[in-house]
């Protein structure tokens, strides 16, 4: 089960872009809290503290206990969305979804695969297709990540959602037949081997030798004649 982290936030009165940009420059992240039973509230929080929380977690969708300044009660919330600045780095905005502890939620959980090296030693290449998975569960059951050992896969095998082991009370939103990862055969192994076979013949063009072993023999035979 994922840990519930405490975050201190303050109400934010103004929401126009100029004010929000000034807040960001001052090291504060604008945020909003909304939910089915509460009115949407504009908030702001410390950027440094929030970044350290994100760095220590496996994904952006985490459960937090919001300590809103001026409010006596804490509010349980799920981080619904974090807007990142993909060019300069840093967080632009955070959405907190206020939830009740006894109501099921939808959240995106990262899928982590272990034993990748052992699987790839069998001669395949693991293609991780589904990096995160939407799950449906009570807040107390929300896992930090879903981990699966892939070293048991053989070349050509696929890992489906139905193969993943979910904690009790957690179910995936997608169907069980959706592929999470595939241990594929490498694309073309011969192309790498061909220049090695043609290597003794110096001066033979490597690019011509590449397509196949048969093609590699021809320039190799011609090379001594050039000398």
């Amino acid at each position: 089960m994922a840990k519930i982290l405490d975050i201190s936030v303050e109400p934010r009165e103004r929401s126009n872009s100029g004010v929000v940009n000034r807040l960001r420059k001052a090291g504060t992240i604008p945020a909003v809290m909304y939910g089915r039973k509460i009115q949407a509230t504009n908030l702001q929080l410390n950027a440094k503290n929030f970044s350290s929380i994100l760095k220590s977690s496996a994904s952006d969708n985490i459960l937090v206990n919001l300590k809103v300044a001026g409010q006596a009660q804490d509010q349980l919330a799920l981080i619904q969305e974090v807007q990142h600045d993909y060019l300069k780095g840093g967080v632009l905005h955070v959405d907190f979804h206020a939830i009740a502890a006894d109501e099921k939620i939808h959240a995106s959980v990262p899928v982590l695969l272990t034993g990748v090296e052992a699987a790839e030693k069998k001669g395949g290449m693991l293609e991780h297709i589904l990096h995160s998975l939407e799950v449906h569960c009570l807040p107390k059951d929300l896992p930090e990540s879903i981990t699966h050992l892939v070293s048991v896969l053989e070349v050509g095998d696929a890992l489906h959602i139905s193969d993943l082991k979910f904690p009790e009370g957690v179910s995936a939103k997608l169907d069980g037949h959706v592929v999470v990862a595939v241990l594929k055969e490498p694309l073309v192994a011969e192309e790498v081997a061909a220049p090695v076979a043609a290597a003794p013949a110096k001066g033979a063009p490597a690019a011509k030798a590449a397509p196949a072993a048969a093609a590699a023999k021809a320039p190799a035979a011609k090379a001594p004649a050039k000398k």
Binding site: L54, Y86, P186
Partner: protein, 140 residues
């Protein structure tokens, strides 16, 4: 094989605007590592192909390479020593319009050091400033 659209609605287009930063196609979505541009530019189809070749050869056909940009835009040119007038030139090549932040290529299934080196070789084929990013580094 040249990278170009199969069919277009209009053979010739205007130059368009290149203002702003990338708002889509700016994350590592398919692979583990990526090459992100920091400049705005028109990247030609032969530059994209050169990058692809550089990456796949360096990876020795291991891993998976994802090309995140496509040259949708035709660029026309006038023949040399042509007098003014006589209309717009013929389509000469195709370009992908990239903005700061656009993810150009992604790589999966290889160690970081190998992917970093492959991206360095690919970046040398382009006339834009780029940086190597990973899925993890983009998140925080």
């Amino acid at each position: 094989m040249a990278l170009l659209p199969k069919r277009v609605k209009h053979r010739k287009t205007q130059r368009g605007s290149r203002a702003g930063n990338a708002t889509v196609g700016n994350k590592v979505s398919y692979g583990e590592f990526g090459l992100q541009t920091l400049d705005r530019a028109w990247i030609k189809n032969n530059q994209i192909e050169a990058c692809r070749v550089a990456i796949t050869r360096h990876l020795k056909r291991k891993g998976a390479v994802f090309i995140r940009i496509f040259p949708h835009k035709p660029v026309t040119a006038r023949p040399p020593e042509t007098r003014m007038g006589k209309g717009k030139g013929a389509p000469e090549f195709w370009v992908a319009v990239v903005y700061p932040g656009t993810m150009l290529f992604e790589i999966a299934g290889v160690p970081e050091a190998l992917a970093r080196d492959a991206c360095r070789l690919a970046a040398n084929k382009l006339g834009v400033r780029t940086r190597f990013v990973s899925r993890q580094s983009m998140m925080h």
